[in-house]
């Protein structure tokens, strides 16, 4: 028999539920203390998506199936590794992304920002990590967009990421930001993260990922809660 343990969620680096500068948290943040739960089989297991339903073209956001054109915008590659805290790569795990177009508009009926939609860009993509835990997307640099959180509020350019990892409690939804963006210090969503954690959400420009004449390259590694396995004497 094997005993599996998973590291606790590190609350020194994750945002709290309540962060008043981000106004929507005020009515949506759970207020009662979380109940500690020692992970059992229910928490240590989780869904796997290593099937045939993820296609290579799903990782290219610059082209829409069935359309002949290409998305407008500064073409980028976004790549990185998905790791556990101890450095072990997370292979064959589903990575889902979504983002605004180059004008800062989402292909979503609830987005009423008066910026143009791009017929060649929906902004959703997915891929599975390889055996080394690596993922890679082709996309365009997303635009900043206004929102109503406070006066003159603009979200910095970002790409949303969703990951599963090996268990239901390693689930992570986060956002990747771009280096040098002047909106970063003003953003209450990123600002909800404790200061030491914020740099972990900012991609690094990587000239080795950049491809001559094609696209700028960014590197963004993602770290999920660590897991350890120790053999137990059978009883």
């Amino acid at each position: 028999m094997i005993r599996v343990e998973i590291a606790k969620r590190d609350w020194r680096i994750h945002p709290p539920y309540l962060h008043e500068p981000y106004a929507s948290t005020i009515r949506r943040a759970p207020r009662r203390a979380l109940v500690p739960l020692e992970p059992t089989l229910s928490e240590l297991t989780g869904p796997a998506f290593n099937d045939d339903s993820v296609r290579p073209e799903d990782a290219d956001l610059t082209r829409v199936p069935g359309a002949s054109g290409e998305a407008i915008g500064q073409r980028i590659y976004v790549t990185g590794r998905v790791l556990e805290e101890e450095g072990r790569p997370v292979a064959n795990t589903l990575v889902e992304v979504w983002q605004a177009n180059a004008a800062g508009r989402y292909f979503h009926k609830a987005d009423q920002h008066e910026a143009p939609l791009d017929p060649n860009f929906t902004g959703g993509g997915r891929c599975l990590t390889n055996e080394r835990g690596e993922y890679r997307f082709t996309s365009i640099h997303p635009g900043a967009y206004p929102w109503r959180n406070h006066h003159n509020a603009w979200r910095p350019s970002h790409i949303h990421f969703s990951l599963f990892g090996t268990s239901f409690i390693s689930r992570l939804v986060t956002q990747m930001y771009f280096p040098g963006d002047p909106l970063l210090p003003l953003d209450p969503v990123l600002g909800g993260v404790p200061e030491e954690g914020r740099p972990l959400l900012i991609a690094r420009y990587d000239h080795d990922v950049t491809e001559p004449g094609i696209a700028l390259g960014y590197r963004f590694d993602i770290v999920l809660r660590g897991r350890s396995q120790t053999p137990m004497e059978s009883r």
């Binding site: 981000y22 949506r28 009662r32 739960l37 229910s42 605004a100 956002q175």
Partner: protein
């Protein structure tokens, strides 16, 4: 001790997750060959002012009708059902409602010798939630007092984790279970 890599911090799913979280989007988790009692779990997600939340995302993970998770760590002896995965994903609609059509899971033998009453594991995401919430939903007709996780929850809050039968229709039992992010009846959320 700090491990060599720090966990990547969580961020909100935002209001536009429908652009990306479409794959594996399934509120119907069964097909005609799946074994077990058909059930529907339906409810709404509600904020601290009692308003329904139209841009939340609810995900579930559960064992099959025999109590077996489809995962390497679950080594039986209950059988795998080849026609059931156990993952569901449902965005709330304009009225804050979600539902899952699934089978009632079996009780779980957790490996430590303890038996967990039938339950689904649930994550809740929404605009305004910088970190998702994690909880469980049980069924009112089961023996819940012996469940080792419910035993850690204050007795007067346990009802927030229990689905109630609301009706039977077309060969399935429909359960009601609401998720309240705040307030007197705030759902119990776990730090697992």
């Amino acid at each position: 001790m700090t491990p060599p890599h720090r966990q990547t911090p969580s961020q909100t799913v935002g209001p536009f997750f429908g652009v990306g979280l479409t794959h594996a989007s399934q509120s119907v988790m069964v097909d005609e060959r799946t074994e077990g009692q058909r059930i529907r779990i339906e409810g709404t997600v509600v904020d601290g002012a009692g308003a329904t939340i139209e841009d939340a995302l609810v995900e579930v993970w559960q064992a099959n009708a025999h109590g077996r998770y489809r995962h390497d760590l679950d080594r039986g002896p209950a059988p795998i059902d080849p026609h059931f995965v156990g993952f569901g994903r449902c965005p709330t609609d304009a009225s804050g409602a979600f539902h899952f059509d699934t089978v009632k899971p079996g009780a779980i033998h957790a490996g430590d010798g303890r038996r967990h009453a039938p339950h689904l594991n649930v994550t809740v995401f929404a605009r305004g939630m910088l970190v998702h919430a994690f909880t469980r939903v049980y069924f009112e007709e089961d023996e819940l007092d012996a469940d080792p996780v419910l035993a850690q929850v204050d007795r007067d809050r346990r009802a927030t984790l229990v689905a109630r039968k609301s009706r039977s229709e077309a060969g399935r039992v429909v359960y009601r279970w609401d998720i309240r992010l705040q307030g007197d009846q705030e759902t119990v959320f776990f730090d697992a």
